[in-house]
Symmetry: C4
Subunit: 248 residues, 4 copies
């Protein structure tokens, strides 16, 4: 953030970010990525040491006033008696560990659940899923934390999960769901949808034979293309129309 | 119920209960838990020896005036020539046998049907299904009653089914469907949806390999968390929005 | 039909029948039983030697003015230059052969297609499907007619199919779809939906183990119950609400 | 095109074509054939050496002003700074190689993806899919082009794909999707939907046993029938109603 930004400019940048974050909540609900539980955040556009995330609400019903601001350690900025998500530490830990990540989703898209407990690769098998990256590791809360309520509700657990995520865009959580991380809010939606669809397709293909995963070269070239400005803009237009905003 | 409640207070409590019961009908229809047949009830909030249940209508179209009041033996309170559900005895028998239960659904969510006739465990395999509890027993009307029209339409059959349910939250009915029972109306919706999703996921996982069910500790801790005030409120907000009520 | 019916009464009976037939068209479209092709008819309520069927239109868009009247041999009553369905002879042949049948659907509900070419029983495995009856035979146009355009477009083919249907409520057509026949329009919708769901459930169950079909006694008792006045009225209410008519 | 057409007539022909092309975009989005990516084109109705295709937008949100005109080599006609689809060469190459083709879709309907990498025939197994033709070949970009971003973004790649398509109506693209080609815009929608449904049904049937594909004679006779004026008009009415246009 240039030091020379005026207050009006700052305010506009924050306004645009909040609008996009609220829309992302509704898009992820519409696309059956997130249902009653799960969440999406973005790094603060002017303060990389903070992130924006709704108070504890289902994304389907999130609106502007629900967005809260947190330090990367999950401390609430400002006075607000409303409850934050217990699992907000997933977001903070990843933002801390990954300066390249500016948007994170945590969800339980149903098609991925079987893969959180099976030794079957979720490597992309079609180009639109290439954005999930070549490796999809799984984190099991049992390994470090034993029997829990399955929530990632401390910075310690968040960092443990973040270590499994590593430099990738996706990690699965055994018996729970997934986290997706990307450079911006539109990309993380594309990653989340690509993961959902790839899981469904790998399952369908395995029922009939062998999966031919994309090559490393195909994954790199396809994902670079899809995460470019044009495809992201085109996909965003589509998602917002489906989420009921009409044509922007 | 404190003896000191005034008439206005009683009326408000009943009013709130009826509103919530009608909404539960619409939610269960929207979530494809109940279609033309199936029903949801709640124990009367002021008279634990009675329960509230729609007249014989599909939940999708139930409204306030359709709710009837019954003794736990299924006797209608008051004058009403409209027909009650033949299977209302499922509700009465469970309320009689289980003082801890205040809401019951009976439904035929399609994903569970195969499991009513297979020797495959429906124990939870992901945290959101933990609310169904560790064991999902199956009741077969053939065992005690032979060839029937498959309906649980007497107190005798209701108690037989209730014995299979035992102290749990879910029982399957061979070639028929399921009953779900919980401490309140929002919890029983969460149990019903958790059962539907767990069945679908166990089927999908088995097609590719072995299911890793949650541990006893995970089931207990996760379900205690999910059936807490915050998660129930958050889920309810989501369900009512999807059922067309908009944001409350 | 009593000879003593006045013209007003006759007109009201026909009016009610047409209304219900148009609604049945929309219901079957809404429930994904019929898409662009497929049709539903009813026997004329006052002239058992005639039947009512839309002109060649997709049920989704059928309205009152589209309904035509035919002799059981498929001859159009009255002047009308609009095209009838080429496959109307399915309806006429069944009405001729089965005086107990007053409503017929022909459709291609996707879940049944695999069973039109597999030696796997579609006998009911849950009570709501009991209405399809204990046996679901398959007709193959190849046997008598060789390579065709797959349409049942002559009375000869209609009667051939009707012989396979026999005294039952359902017959499958290899590589094509199904016919459902029942005593009235609401029953034939229940049979069509029961068939669709039973096919999906048998497939899902077989993927995990062995299907436990209902016993003969269960099928008879359940179907007699479901095809009674109360369950049909309750199901109809549900279907019309879902088809967008709101609550009647 | 007769040389004697007046300007008004030409304008009306183009107007009708554009209207239909925009509707086709919305229909294919509604039927889950095309999501954020994928496209549909038609050959220019008066200039067979040109084709009409939206600028780079998701079909769901395409409107009249988005349609561009291209030479068969993919050169934009007229001034327009907006970006075309990178994969427009699929369309140009097929129009060049196949004078009988006047409409093309490129899509990633999910049900077909497994078949792009499996040695399992997608030959039609039910009459409504007969329009895809007896053979469904697969093109693999690796064979001639090695690791790419999976897009068919040059005339060279377009012609390579077109050679795999040959004289057929459908070709699959490994790890990517499909192209469908037909004589007019309504037919290519029917082919696209037939392909989508046939893929889903072959998968479902294989899970239980052996697929009985249609005979050559059945495929030829059924597809000739379905691609006739009446069935196409009836299907179009259905698609446009579902796409939200109401009854035309």
């Amino acid at each position: 953030m240039p030091a020379s930004l005026g207050d009006d400019q700052k305010s506009e940048i924050i306004d645009a970010a909040l609008t996009r974050l609220v829309m992302a909540n509704h898009i992820l609900a519409r696309e059956d990525i997130i249902d009653n539980f799960g969440h999406v955040s973005m790094r603060h556009p002017l303060r990389p040491d903070r992130y924006l995330l709704s108070r504890s609400r289902s994304p389907q019903v999130v609106s502007r006033g629900d967005i809260m601001e947190f330090t990367l350690d999950g401390e609430l900025i400002g006075e607000d008696s409303r409850s934050p998500y217990a699992e907000r530490h997933i977001h903070g830990a990843i933002y801390k560990d990954r300066p390249d990540v500016n948007a994170v989703t945590h969800h339980h898209a149903r098609s991925i659940l079987p893969f959180t407990m099976l030794d079957i690769s979720l490597r992309p098998m079609f180009h639109m899923a290439s954005v999930i990256g070549p490796d999809v590791p799984t984190w099991d809360s049992q390994h470090e934390f034993g029997d829990t309520n399955m929530l990632v509700d401390s910075m310690e657990m968040g960092h443990s999960l973040s270590r499994t995520l590593g430099k990738g865009r996706v990690a699965l959580l055994r018996g729970h769901g997934a986290v997706c991380a990307a450079g911006d809010i539109r990309s993380v939606i594309m990653v989340s949808i690509g993961l959902r669809d790839n899981a469904a397709l790998v399952a369908q293909t395995l029922a009939m034979g062998k999966v031919t995963y994309l090559t490393d070269g195909e994954i790199e070239k396809s994902s670079n293309m899809l995460l470019g400005a044009m495809p992201l803009a085109r996909a965003w237009d589509y998602w917002v129309a489906r989420a009921g905003y009409g044509r922007l």
